[in-house]
Symmetry: C2
């Protein structure tokens, strides 16, 4: 099994280097030519618990990806991981992934928010196995060839709609990936509840991310002020109701869990707050914008998701 | 000239008692029977610069208003001041004001925000002189019969659309009111730019009020944090553009003025913050909601006004 990591950002680098260190056959497919030549030249550096590991792996840039020899290209049984942010999931990138997956490789999608899976499915060859994934691990890319592994967690993936895939063969492909991950010391879980897990993560992000960005506070500070807590609660209730209409099971996504995440990540700045502070585009369109989209499909209003989305866009 | 003050809240009480102390013929028309009997019984108390003045004035409750003797009712040359908040401007209240104004009294409207003038005009007898007013004075009602005069300012009023009134007689009625006000030591200004002034006040309120309520800060603290300042600026620009489309003259409503008001009232909590903290309904529907309404009429979007309105409503 070969694994092609498309987009060597923080998560892609962290998983790719940990897998390569564990003996897996990794090819990074980077967006820039510079990053590919850096990693291909002297390896990527993984910083973990204060230790540094230089890991050698293949790397090509997206524009050079098609220049790989026939036998270096992914085929049946191989995996392509799309680890770029939704904002970088352009038609051009999807066209490259489509070419890469033409010989039957499966595709794992590690985006935050929602909205990407239908787009990816529409762009890839019919019959491609596409599985959504959620990571609770932490990573911070310090430079194009250095990534810091900042928080242990789990990589979960599985079919989006269990029972609708063509079954046994696809299940084996996914179980093989779990065993390759575990060999590399990565905790992985094959889930048949991915929609619930995606919605639950979306719900937590939809409350914490925009409000920490608007109020300019760390996750732990968010619930400490009465009007912030009231807005969290109102945004949670609106979002929970919309996600429930769209299929979120009632055992997922509790208010207590949102507060527990604020507490567990108290000293962290949310990615949205960091993006706003750095003047980068945020993921708002796929988080609260994604929930607003589900609301529109269901014909129900989403005033608070619209509100925080408008305010975060104004902060860019 | 007799002046009937409908709604003895902070502004109504402050003006009514100052006018009565100055010799004007005042009748309070209160919403509650209790307040009317308190004021009619032992007078209202005006607290000004540490001094207390007990002022005797007529007072009837709205439900008893029609029980006034024929010669106690307002007629041509008299004024009815509507000083209730927009939330209290019910159909029932407008019906009472309509009866009171049936004999030709003029009507002065002291509401914040916009949206009330067409409603009032539709409810009152055709041909009634209706003038909008803006006060920059401060008042705090401490109990149903005690009001504190907290900040000196000006009462401005005038025809909403100059030239569209039936001219001379109405101008005399308004000038008479100015002289009665000045006799009582109240600084008054007859303006033929009321629409601009209303829009300018609306613009300032639309930026400061919802954001101080959302962030839970005093006026002076609002611009001190980068994301708050960015949201102020974005909300100002959106609102300014909508008001300009609706007729705001470009010499009114500058960004510097918004910042100057924050500074001049640095230690104050905005009325919207106080309302939110006390669990009272806010004036959001007539401030940012009013601007959103103008945007809809003009067929342009108002995402940030919609956003802060949704968030303030969630804080109630």
């Amino acid at each position: 099994m070969r694994i092609f990591i498309v987009g060597a950002g923080s998560l892609g680098m962290m998983y790719g280097l940990r897998l390569a260190r564990g003996g897996a056959r990794i090819t990074f497919v980077t967006r820039s030519v510079e990053q590919a030549s850096l990693i291909a030249g002297k390896g990527g550096k993984l910083v973990e618990d204060g230790e540094e590991f230089v890991v050698v792996a293949k790397a090509v840039s997206m524009s050079d990806g098609m220049a790989l020899a026939e036998d270096e290209l992914p085929g049946a049984g191989d995996w392509i991981w799309i680890t770029v942010k939704q904002a970088h999931l352009t038609d051009e990138l999807l066209a490259s992934v489509s070419s890469l997956s033409a010989r039957g490789a499966a595709v794992l999608c590690l985006q935050n928010g929602i909205g990407h899976l239908p787009r990816i499915a529409a762009a890839l060859p019919a019959g491609t196995l596409i599985v959504p994934a959620i990571s609770t691990e932490g990573a911070l890319r310090e430079s194009p060839d250095i990534v810091r592994y900042t928080g242990r967690g789990t990589l979960m993936f599985g079919p989006l709609r269990p029972g609708k895939t063509n079954a046994e063969e696809e299940e084996i492909t996914q179980k093989m990936l779990v065993s390759v991950l575990e060999e590399a010391g990565i905790t992985a879980e094959l889930s048949n509840q991915m929609e619930n897990r995606i919605y639950e993560k979306l719900l937590i992000n939809a409350v914490i991310n925009p409000l920490t960005a608007i109020f300019g506070v760390k996750n732990g500070e968010l619930p400490l002020h009465p009007s912030r807590l009231r807005l969290m609660s109102a945004l949670f209730m609106e979002s929970r109701a919309i996600l429930a209409r769209s299929g979120l099971n009632e055992e997922y996504g509790s208010w207590e869990k949102v507060l527990a995440v604020c507490e567990a990540t108290a000293a962290n700045e949310s990615s949205m707050l960091r993006d706003v502070q750095s003047g980068r585009a945020t993921e708002i369109d796929w988080i609260n914008g994604g929930i607003a989209g589900l609301a529109r499909e269901a014909g129900i209003p989403s005033p608070l998701n619209d509100a925080v989305a408008a305010m975060v866009r104004a902060l860019h």
